[in-house]
């Protein structure tokens, strides 16, 4: 993924909205550059969905992003609109931490706040942005809020350095402009602004292949998009190429993992979306692809190929060494991703229309096979805080997803290790959970 080279799960500048109409399934989501439904909406429509599941006419859970922590070679994280899903066995089984708990520590079955995005640090810590920026150092079991300059601020973007686990960049928006701040402790605390402008900084990202190289995009109050570059971890900045005129929202898709002078940019303008590329550190920029509608996903694959997807089921591919993109049919893409150094491509799809929530391709995106659907979620993460806080949510989401009520029983940890405490596995807890599930099932 872009923020976790070599792939990106979702183009920058794709702000998500919470909206009832965003929560309707994929047909509706074609309208949105980044629909961000909330499970608090999904649940009410679960029954409608069940009634007419073939048409997916109600609202349903959806994916935001996929992540592959370098520190855990078998772990996959899937950001969704109802929580963060975790697999410790390369996608064979999945558990989750619910969004109400992730965003606010709430035990409610409905979330009053929604995650805008997830990010992963180089050592596997997880960052989420909703009302607050929060950080989990224990694979989604606990989510303390980050402190320092981000506290109480509107955080519009976060990027965790791909090599330095301590270095995390964030963009803060304020009434008089925006600023870039940095954390040196992996997102726990953030310091004073490194860069402040009366313009809007729209994205920021640091390079894998050249330590300390950071790019940012900004757009003027009255328009005009610009690329910025720093070679000293954001301490000083140079204004590089002008990216576009008024009306264009620029953002960074990815810095090439092998070449810090190559940056993939997104230029969203009106009803069109473009991918632009600089190969000289931002001195010049060329538009490589323009499409109608909006991109939802981008991947710079290990072999150098580029992939860009849309909700409409368009997958644009530029093979390594090629100079142009070719369009092919693909899943209704919400995200693309790849574990560094491997060849398998992961894609978030439409659970009903594509047949999977997370799929994969071993043939360069020619075909995608199902890896997981939300209905296969085993239950909550087994650590005690999540088991306790998310019980009501799990009860609710089972109905949404049509999961058998006993599916939430923790099972023996898969190879790769359990990441949380195992309180949930105690027989007494299981019995209580079963009884609760049965009780609520009967009520419903």
């Amino acid at each position: 993924m872009a923020r976790e080279v070599p792939g990106t799960s979702r183009p920058r500048g794709t702000e998500r909205e919470v909206k009832l109409r965003d929560v309707i399934p994929s047909r509706w989501q074609r309208l949105h550059s980044g629909p961000r439904p909330s499970i608090s909406w999904l649940a009410p429509f679960a029954v409608a969905l069940a009634v007419s599941a073939a048409h997916a006419n109600g609202a349903f859970p959806d994916e935001l992003s996929v992540h592959f922590p370098a520190s855990a070679p078998h772990r996959i994280l899937l950001g969704s609109n109802f929580g963060l899903l975790v697999s410790e066995d390369d996608g064979a089984s999945w558990r989750y931490a619910c969004e109400p708990y992730v965003t606010s520590g709430s035990t409610s079955s409905l979330s009053p706040a929604n995650v805008s995005f997830y990010q992963i640090t180089a050592d596997g810590a997880i960052l989420e942005d909703s009302v607050d920026l929060r950080r989990s150092a224990d694979v989604a079991c606990t989510w303390p809020a980050s402190s320092g300059s981000v506290a109480g601020s509107v955080v519009s973007d976060v990027f965790a350095d791909p090599t330095d686990p301590g270095f995390v960049l964030a963009i803060l928006a304020a009434i008089n402009g925006s600023s870039i701040v940095a954390s040196r402790d992996g997102g726990t605390t953030f310091g004073a602004p490194l860069y402040t402008t009366s313009d809007l900084v729209t994205s920021v990202e640091s390079a894998r292949s050249a330590r300390g190289v950071v790019y940012a995009t900004k757009v003027g109050i009255r328009g005009g998009a610009t690329l910025l570059r720093s070679a000293d971890w954001g301490t000083t900045w140079n204004t590089m190429a002008t990216l576009a005129g008024a009306g264009t929202q620029p953002s960074i898709l990815a810095i090439d993992p092998a070449d810090a002078n190559t940056v993939y940019l997104r230029l969203l303008a009106g009803a069109n979306d473009s991918i632009a590329i600089t190969t000289d550190g931002g001195q010049t920029v060329q538009v490589a692809l323009t499409v109608s509608g909006a991109f939802t996903s981008f991947l710079r694959a290990t072999d150098g190929a580029l992939y860009a997807g849309q909700l409409e089921g368009n997958l644009y591919v530029r093979p390594a060494g090629a100079t142009s993109f070719a369009r092919r049919s693909g899943p209704r893409l919400r995200c693309l991703g790849q574990r560094l150094g491997t060849s398998r491509i992961f894609a978030c799809g439409d659970m009903f229309q594509d047949g999977f929530s997370l799929g994969y391709s071993d043939d360069g995106g020619q075909t995608f096979l199902p890896m997981m659907s939300f209905s296969q979620i085993l239950g909550l993460l087994t650590c005690a805080p999540v088991q306790s806080a998310c019980a009501a949510h799990w009860e609710r989401i089972q109905g949404v997803l049509g999961i058998a009520p006993d599916a939430g029983q923790p099972r023996p940890a898969a190879p790769g290790g359990s990441h949380c405490a195992t309180v949930g596995g105690e027989p007494s807890v299981l019995l209580v959970l079963l009884a609760l599930c049965h009780h609520f099932r009967r009520k419903s």
């Binding site: 409608a48 909703s130 009106g270």
Partner: protein, 507 residues
């Protein structure tokens, strides 16, 4: 109205004010004109039946005490409509397939032949979503860019047909979705419908130089996700819709915005009152501030419902409008509901499993409400509300406790017509046979657009801009009947208990 009818009406008005709130009942249906003057619905109030779809009647649309005066369909419309003087403004879906992108300016000087005069194409006006609003006093048109930082403001004072761009700016931290001017026209509030920020206050005192005043995120445990809003006349109180689900997280939030109004440094926002409900109507949309008989109310719309699961719980399957007494802003209370039969849990057997709730394109919004407006904010007697698939519904709200429907205009279904500017078309897909239209915009009454006479203007997604004449002398109880109520109340008690609801509705 005959004397007997007036007698019965007034008695009922006197005796059943409690029922509208305490019982989940739909508003009385309008009595449509006789003969061929109307094309009334054949099923439940608001419903387009399967038979109507099969016969093609839905392609003609449905009317009750209304006539279409004029229309400019264009390539279809998006969510919002606003108007000033002889001009209407409606947005489109920002679909690359459109021949003309942007917000349409329509000259309706000749109401029977509205014509487009401009397409506004700043980043904000390409897709202002629900934020497209006019401030009549200052004659400004403004909107925020959906999902982005853009904000545009136009002068429409010289010639409403040709808005003059005053400013097109990017506002840090702003994500456009909905928005509204303060009544003095000096502040525009953007509500991004996000967890953070909840609102963006913009100083537009100098509309050529909009300046952000505040990015504010509602603190826990408040639901920080705000939808549309309105501000009190003095600017010191804000009425916000808290967009939530099936629980108390959905409803009205009343905030003290005086620090913003006074331009105090480090402005603070304080909670004054809050109200929520659990009747199946969810997805808070709009808080319309009105006075009825001198008393302040909010006409509040929800844009979603619980569908079959709502029915299973004895609640409404759709969202609907309601009238909230805000005389005591710390303790707002619902006084009545503008619930259609399609929203009434009593009709779930006909609605939850019928064509309305399957793959006929109604989808999650169903027959829910979206935006309302009134004939006169300071003395409202008639409300018109967009109700998605149920079209434009018009209510007599003289008696705030007992509103009743007096007419409707349900635009024709457009089937598979190619309308790339329509959000519904984009949602449904090119090959989908759309069996109804989606009516979603805020209607406009003459006074609302600075005129002394005229008809109701609105836009729907597949039919664009429409002008509809309401014939008010047909159907419904007159207000005068109410004054007779005390004299006949006792005599009518036995009758009331024996009357079937359908007969009551004929009143």
């Amino acid at each position: 109205m005959t004397w007997n009818k007036a007698l019965i009406c007034s008695g009922l008005i006197a005796l059943v004010p409690w029922a509208s709130v305490h019982a989940a009942a739909s508003v009385p249906k309008a009595t449509c004109r006789s003969g061929r003057a109307d094309r009334p619905e054949s099923g439940l109030q608001g419903m387009t039946t399967q038979a109507e779809q099969d016969s093609g009647a839905n392609k003609q649309g449905f009317t009750c005490n209304t006539d279409l005066v004029g229309q400019f369909q264009g390539e279809g419309g998006s969510w919002q409509f606003t108007a000033w003087k002889t001009c209407g403004y409606f947005d489109t879906s920002n679909n690359a397939a459109q021949q003309h992108l942007g917000t349409l300016v329509v000259d309706a000087s000749d109401p029977s032949h509205p014509v487009v005069t401009e397409y506004l194409t700043t980043a904000s006006m390409l897709d202002p979503w629900e934020s497209l609003k006019v401030h009549g006093g200052r004659q400004l048109l403004a909107g925020g860019q959906r999902g982005g930082p853009g904000f545009s403001i136009y002068d429409i004072s010289r010639d409403c047909r040709h808005p003059v761009l005053l400013a097109d700016v990017n506002l840090p931290g702003s994500f456009g979705h909905t928005g509204e001017f303060a009544p003095d026209g000096k502040t525009y509030y953007i509500t991004p419908l996000r967890s953070s920020p909840s609102l963006v206050a913009v100083d537009v005192s100098d509309p050529s130089n909009p300046r952000e005043l505040l990015l504010w995120t509602a603190p826990s445990p408040l639901n920080p996700i705000f939808h549309d809003l309105e501000i009190s006349d003095d600017g010191n109180t804000g009425y916000f819709t808290q967009f939530g689900g099936a629980t108390a997280q959905n409803g009205l939030l009343i905030l003290d915005t005086s620090d913003i109004q006074a331009r105090r440094s480090n402005p603070q926002i304080r909670v004054i009152g809050q109200l929520s409900w659990d009747d199946g109507s969810i997805g808070a949309q709009q808080p319309l501030r009105v006075k009825i008989a001198g008393k302040p109310y909010i006409i509040f719309t929800d844009e979603g419902g619980l569908h079959a699961s709502g029915c299973a719980a004895g609640k409404s399957p759709n969202g609907f409008a309601r009238i909230i007494d805000i005389s005591d802003p710390a303790n707002p209370r619902v006084v009545s509901k503008l619930m259609l039969e399609m929203n009434d849990p009593a009709n779930c057997s006909q609605t939850a499993s019928g064509p309305a709730d399957t793959a006929t394109g109604v989808s999650v919004f169903g027959y829910s409400s979206h935006y309302c407006n009134v004939d006169d904010r300071n003395n409202a007697t008639t409300a018109a509300c967009s109700y998605f698939s149920a079209g434009l519904r018009i209510f007599d709200i003289h008696d705030v406790n007992n509103p009743k429907e007096i007419g409707y205009y349900k635009p024709p279904a457009r089937g598979t017509d190619v309308l790339p500017g329509s959000q519904y078309y984009r949602f449904a897909g090119a090959n989908f046979n759309r069996p109804m239209d989606w009516t979603t915009s805020r209607p406009s009454f003459p006074k609302d657009r600075g005129m002394s006479s005229g008809d109701i203007w609105f836009s729907s997604q597949d039919n664009g801009f429409q002008i509809v004449k309401l014939h008010t002398n047909s159907g419904g109880c007159s207000a005068t009947g109410g004054s007779l109520a005390p004299f006949f109340a006792l005599a009518l008690i036995p009758m009331l208990f024996h009357r079937r609801r359908g007969r009551v509705r004929r009143c």
